[in-house]
C-alpha cells in the first residue's frame, strides 16, 4: 500500500512537472500545426517553372534549380535559410545594439 502510494506520488509529481508537460505540449503543438494546416480549402493548383535558360550560374540559379526539381526540398530550403538568417542576423545585431551601451538584461514588466 505504501509502495503504491509512493508510485502514485511519483507519477503525480512527474505529471505536475514541466519536464513532462513541456515535451508533450511541444510535440502536440507541432503535430497540431500540421493537422490545422492540412485542413480547410485546398490551394488551387498553380504550376510554375522557373525559366533558367538565361540565368547565369550562382546562388539564384541554384535556388531556381531546386525549385524546378523538388518542391519539398525547396520548402525545407526556405525554412532552413530563413531560420539560419534569423539566428545569424539576430545574434549579430544583438551585439551591435549592445555596443550602444544599453542595458539589455531582464526587464521589469511595468504597465
Amino acid at each position: 500500500m505504501r509502495q503504491h502510494s509512493k508510485k502514485v506520488s511519483w507519477t503525480a509529481g512527474r505529471l505536475a512537472s514541466g519536464w513532462f508537460w513541456g515535451p508533450l505540449l511541444t510535440a502536440w503543438a507541432v503535430a497540431g500545426e500540421a493537422i490545422a494546416a492540412g485542413g480547410g480549402k485546398p490551394v488551387t493548383k498553380l504550376v510554375n517553372v522557373v525559366d533558367t535558360r538565361n540565368m547565369s550560374p550562382g546562388f539564384v540559379r541554384w535556388v531556381a534549380d531546386v525549385y524546378n526539381t523538388n518542391l519539398w526540398l525547396y520548402g525545407l530550403l526556405v525554412v532552413g535559410i530563413m531560420a539560419g538568417m534569423g539566428i545569424f542576423f539576430g545574434s549579430v545585431f544583438d551585439r551591435l545594439i549592445a555596443m550602444l551601451g544599453i542595458n539589455l538584461g531582464k526587464l521589469d514588466h511595468h504597465e
Binding site: L15, A16, G18, W21, G22, L25, T26, W28, A29, V30, G32, E33, I35, A36, A37, G39, G40, K41, V43, L46, N48, V50, D51, T52, M55, V60, R61, V63, A64, Y67, L71, W72, Y74, G75, L76, L77, V78, V79, I81, M82, A83, M85, G86, I87, F89, G90, F93, D94, L96, L100, G101, I102, N103, L104, G105, K106, L107, H109, H110, E111
Partner: protein, 345 residues
C-alpha cells in the same frame, strides 16, 4: 534606380531591392514592438508594387518566421517569453483554426461567407481597437486622479482576466514568466477562440492573440508581446515550409525582406524597454484603427487607397517607435552619466 533592381526567379519579375528592405524593416519594427506578424502590412505593400498575389502570402510567411526568431531571441533575453504559455495557446489555436476553416466552408455552402466575413473583419478590428483605446484612457484617467489626490496607485477592481484565473479547473499551471497561475484550459480555450476568429477572418492572428493574452489571460503587456512572437515564430516556420512545398514562396524576395526585418525587429524589440505597457496598448489601438480603415477602403473597392493607407501608416508607426527608442537610449545614457539610478519612459 535600375542598379537596385533584382531578378526574382520564382515570381518571374524584377523588383526594387530597396522596397523589399523598407517593407521588411517597417514590419520588423512593428512586429518586434507589438508582437505581431504584420501580414496585413506586407501583403498589400508587396501587391501595390506589382508583386504577384499568388506568392505574396507565402513569401510573407517565410520572412515572418525568420523575423520572429530575431524578436523572440531578444524578447527571451528580456524575460518576455513565456514558452509554456505560448505552447498552451498553440494547442488551442491549431484546433481553433481547423474549426474556423470548417465554419468558413459551411458559410460558403450557404452562400454567406463573402458577406459575413468581410463585415465581421471590419467590426472585429473596430471592436479590438475601441476596447484597447478605452482601456488606455480609463487607466490613465484613474492614475491621474489618484496622483492628484496623493493616493497610491490602485490596482482597481478585479479584471476579467483575474476572474478567469480564479477558475479552479485542473490541471492548474504556474506560468513563470507571466507570473500567473491558472487552469491550463484557460490559455487553450483562449487560443481556440482566437484560432477560430483568425481562421474565419483569414489572418495570422497575432493582432488578436496579443490583446487576448493581456485581457483574457492577464499577461503583462511585454510578456504578451514576447509570447505572441514565439507563437508567430512557430506559425511562420510551418507556413514557410507548407507554402514553400507548394511553390508559393519567392525565396530571394523573402531573404531581402528578412535582411531589413532583422534590423527593424531588433529596434522594435529594444524599444519596448523604454515604453510603459499601457503606451504600447495605445499605439496598438491606433495601428488597429488604421488597419480597420484600410480594410474598409478595400471593401469599397478602393484597393490602391487601401494599400497606400496601410503602407504609409506602417512606415509612420515604425518611425514613431524608432523615435521612442532613440529618446530612451539618449535618456539612459544621460542618466548613467549623471549617476541617476532610474530612467522614466
Amino acid at each position: 534606380m535600375d542598379i537596385f533592381e533584382i531578378y526574382l526567379p520564382v515570381a518571374g519579375m524584377h523588383f526594387n531591392v530597396l522596397l523589399l528592405l523598407l517593407i521588411g524593416f517597417t514590419v520588423g519594427v512593428c512586429g518586434g514592438f507589438f508582437g505581431i506578424g504584420g501580414a496585413w502590412i506586407v501583403t498589400p505593400a508587396l501587391n501595390i508594387f506589382g508583386f504577384p498575389m499568388a506568392y505574396a502570402i507565402g513569401t510573407d510567411l517565410a520572412h515572418m518566421g525568420g523575423k520572429s526568431i530575431v524578436s523572440t531571441m531578444r524578447h527571451g533575453k528580456f524575460g518576455n517569453v513565456d514558452v509554456r504559455l505560448g505552447v498552451s495557446m498553440i494547442i488551442g489555436t491549431t484546433i481553433g483554426m481547423e474549426a474556423g476553416a470548417q465554419l468558413v466552408m459551411w458559410l460558403e455552402r450557404l452562400g454567406l461567407a463573402e458577406d459575413y466575413i468581410r463585415k465581421a473583419y471590419v467590426v472585429f478590428l473596430a471592436l479590438i481597437g475601441s476596447y484597447v483605446l478605452y482601456d488606455y484612457i480609463s487607466h490613465t484617467r484613474q492614475q491621474k486622479a489618484l496622483e492628484a489626490a496623493g493616493k497610491p496607485a490602485d490596482p482597481g477592481a478585479l479584471t476579467l482576466a483575474q476572474k478567469l484565473q480564479r477558475l479552479r479547473i485542473p490541471p492548474m499551471i504556474h506560468f513563470k514568466a507571466s507570473g500567473i497561475t491558472c487552469s491550463l484550459w484557460l490559455p487553450i480555450l483562449v487560443g481556440f477562440t482566437t484560432g477560430i476568429v483568425a481562421s474565419v477572418l483569414g489572418v495570422g492572428g497575432g493582432f488578436i492573440r496579443m490583446p487576448a493574452l493581456v485581457y483574457l489571460i492577464g499577461c503583462p503587456t511585454l510578456v504578451a508581446v514576447g509570447t505572441d512572437l514565439f507563437e508567430v515564430m512557430i506559425t511562420g516556420a510551418y507556413g514557410a515550409f507548407t507554402f514553400g512545398a507548394k511553390g508559393r514562396v519567392e525565396l530571394i524576395a523573402a531573404m531581402w525582406m528578412l535582411g531589413g526585418a532583422t534590423i527593424g525587429a531588433q529596434l522594435g524589440t529594444v524599444a519596448v524597454k523604454y515604453v510603459r505597457g499601457y503606451f504600447i496598448r495605445l499605439l496598438f489601438a491606433v495601428t488597429i484603427f488604421i488597419a480597420c480603415a484600410s480594410v474598409l477602403l478595400k471593401q469599397l473597392d478602393l484597393n490602391m487607397a487601401s494599400s497606400v493607407t496601410i503602407l504609409v501608416a506602417g512606415i509612420g508607426i515604425s518611425l514613431v517607435i524608432v523615435g521612442l527608442l532613440v529618446r530612451g537610449i539618449v535618456q539612459e545614457r544621460a542618466a548613467r552619466r549623471s549617476g541617476a539610478t532610474q530612467v522614466e519612459a
